[in-house]
């Protein structure tokens, strides 16, 4: 049993990625952001589908086609494989906890 709100990493200068499940073509990941935007240059461009949800905090996801999604607790979004995207904002004052599921 693992609690996704617990044991938050303490280094606020970087974003933290932790695999919770990684089996076959499926990966479930917790991401903890402290105001980071990522990537700093260019776009995420993934070969897998990504379903992402904000568990706590706030983050803004931008697609390269101009669409923008402002996510707070409970908000989820499907990022299709090959959909270029980036995180343009996370709350600098508090930890933003993301849950991401990657699959084919």
């Amino acid at each position: 049993m693992m609690n996704l709100f617990a044991n938050l990493p303490t280094d606020r200068t970087v974003e933290h990625f932790q695999d919770i499940v990684s089996q076959g073509n499926v990966r479930i990941e917790r991401i903890v952001s402290y105001g980071q935007q990522s990537p700093e240059q260019g776009w995420y461009d993934q070969s897998q589908q990504e379903w992402v949800m904000v568990l706590q905090g706030r983050g803004i996801v931008v697609f390269d086609d101009g669409r923008e999604f402002d996510l707070t607790a409970g908000d989820s979004l499907l990022v299709a494989a090959g959909q270029k995207h980036k995180v343009s904002y996370t709350d600098p004052a508090h930890a933003t906890i993301w849950l991401a599921v990657f699959f084919d």
Copy 2:
């Protein structure tokens, strides 16, 4: 964009299952329980892996080997394929929201 805390079903006499993503061998589901225990008889016995998390509320998952997991917000659990399990308790006073990811 979908918020998993929003638009909760109003019928409290039954448990509610809603697919959020269903692609290939992966299914992401929201389950809303209002005190239900399930299944009423026997055990869940699934051919897929299930990673489950409580987003809100409280639920107790029991395995047929006697292990018991008392989950509140943020708690997550991997139920291996073929691991017989059931939900022995959910909070009758409030909605319990589960997030389940099924995969091979």
